[in-house]
Structure formats: structure tokens, C-alpha cells
Point group: C2
Chain length 150, copies 2
Amino acid sequence: MDADHQRDPNGPTPSTLYGTARVSVQRAVIARVVREMRTAFTAEELHLAVADASPGIGLATVYRAISAMQEAGAVMTVGDRDGSALLALCVRNDHHHHLVCTRCGRVLGVECPLGDAVSSAATREGHLITSHEVVLYGLCVDCREGTRGA
Amino acid sequence: MDADHQRDPNGPTPSTLYGTARVSVQRAVIARVVREMRTAFTAEELHLAVADASPGIGLATVYRAISAMQEAGAVMTVGDRDGSALLALCVRNDHHHHLVCTRCGRVLGVECPLGDAVSSAATREGHLITSHEVVLYGLCVDCREGTRGA
DNA sequence: TCACCAAGTGAGAAGCGTTCTCACTTGGTG
DNA sequence: CACCAAGTGAGAACGCTTCTCACTTGGTGA
């Protein structure tokens, strides 16, 4: 399912993740770590992973990088774990949503075939929908297949 | 649109909001204030409103009441405002979602006609969906009508 | 009606995720 | 190479939320 987030064989570049912001050495490391993330992650988890790849990068820098990536639309908050924001890589540019696997914790991109359905449903009640967010919970393909045998 | 959240002419009772938890005088006051809320609210806003109705009720009590109501499924977190959790009354027992009006800030219940669509869309990609959350953004009926003239 | 006790309360301290500050460093441009 | 806006690290500060503790209250059984 990496194709979901890494259709380009080289994956998104640091500049893709940060938009037009300057990409320092530290941010390049953070971008690489984020790209290697296979599940949703908190800022602290990212900081640990980053410190593992390149000790010395501060927590503030991680938070600033997250902020830059969110601004660039490359990362988004998909939930909350123990009071910390749960983040996920969000590379596909087309409108999509996230499936949070309740077994392995991964967050996968899922196409959004609902746009019209959602809007029309609410419009029927008289509201005007301009945007929407959907978070799905369940089992991803891998965990679903693993479950069959167990 | 009050019918959305108050179909019973008397509205939900405190015990409805708290499930099986004990309903003290303070919790009854908090429940009443929550029922009168017309928009999504933060814990602090609720505390202010509660203090207005019955001075002396502590912030910790408000947080504990919120926690109890969330556990009972009567209140849910629908977002985040300046770092504080944004809460909304959630009385209808049938599966529904929330429309956050970007103009007046109210959070309205909207029927969920998507259940099958959402599940089948993700299922098509091989996942197994067990639940989902949808948050819609746009203009509620009132604001939409107000907009036409302006 | 009374006694008992689990559950709830108020006040404030503590915890903890996140943001800010400040002096220093670095990337990119001319 | 010089310049300077942008980024960095360390830690303090901030603010939301939870916890602690002594006290009160609601509900149950006798």
C-alpha cells in the first residue's frame, strides 16, 4: 500500500513536503523520517525517530517542521493519542481521506467517492457544504488478511 | 433547527446526558447549560456559562462532567479551537454527523446517508471499515439565507 | 429516620504537549 | 565574499487538562 503515499518511485522530495519554505539539513532529515513512517505518529515519536537518524535535532525544530509541512498540506492531523496530536503523511494531492487501522495503527489514504453524496445529503437539509473531513476506522488490507487465519 | 437536538419537547434529561453516572446538583446545572448551548463550545466557555448560571462550580467539576457525558455518548469532540477541545451536544441516538457552520460557529447534527457508500468505497480497496467520522464545513440554513440578501 | 460509603466536589498543584524567546548558525542571492 | 532573512537548539513559558486531598452529598439498606 505504499503506492498510496509513494506513487513517485523516489517519493515526495523534502521541498514537496515543505512547500516553498527553506529546506535546511535538519528539515531534510525530518522529511526523510516522515516519509519512512508507516503509521500515524505523534510529534514526540517523530522527534525520537529523528534523533535516532540524526542526534541533536531539537524538539522545537521538529514542531516547526511539522508546522511547515502542515502549512504545505503534506502532513495533517488525523486524530489524537493520549493528548498528543496524531499526524499522518498526506502526499496525494487529490481529495482523499484517511483510514486508521485499529489493529496496526497505520493511516492509509483512501479515495473519496463521496464528495457529491456528502454535499447533497446536507444540502437536502438546507445547508451549504463547502468542505468535509472523513476518518474511517477499521482493518487495512494486510491486517484483514492476517485476521482470516487467526 | 433545534429539532435536530431537541426532538423531545423537554429535551434530554440530565440522566440521559450522564448515562448511569450519579447526577449531582452541579451536574444537573451543567447538563442544562449544555442543552442550551447553540454552538460548539470549549471547556472554558462551558465553565463560564455554568458559573453564570450557578457560581461556585469549579473547572475540575466541569471537566469531570464533560468526561462523563462523553462516556455516555451525549457530547463529543468535534474539533479544536486555539488548542482547546471543541465540544458539541450529540443527542440524537441514530448515527449522524456534524456540520460546523463557518459563519456562526454552530454545530448541527446531519443525517448520515453514507454508511454503505463509505464502507463500500474503502472495501473496494480491500479494507474493512467498522466505523467512520464525518465533519462537514459550510453554512447552516440560517446563515445561508442570511447570505442571500447581503 | 439514620448510618454508611461510594461517588462527586472545589481549589489549587501538577503534568504535559506545544509554543515562544534569544543568541547563534546557515542557506541563498547578488 | 558579504549580507540577511530564515532556521536552529535549549530551555523557559504557556495553557489545557488531570490529579490530589479533604470535605460533602446522594442513594441504599437496616
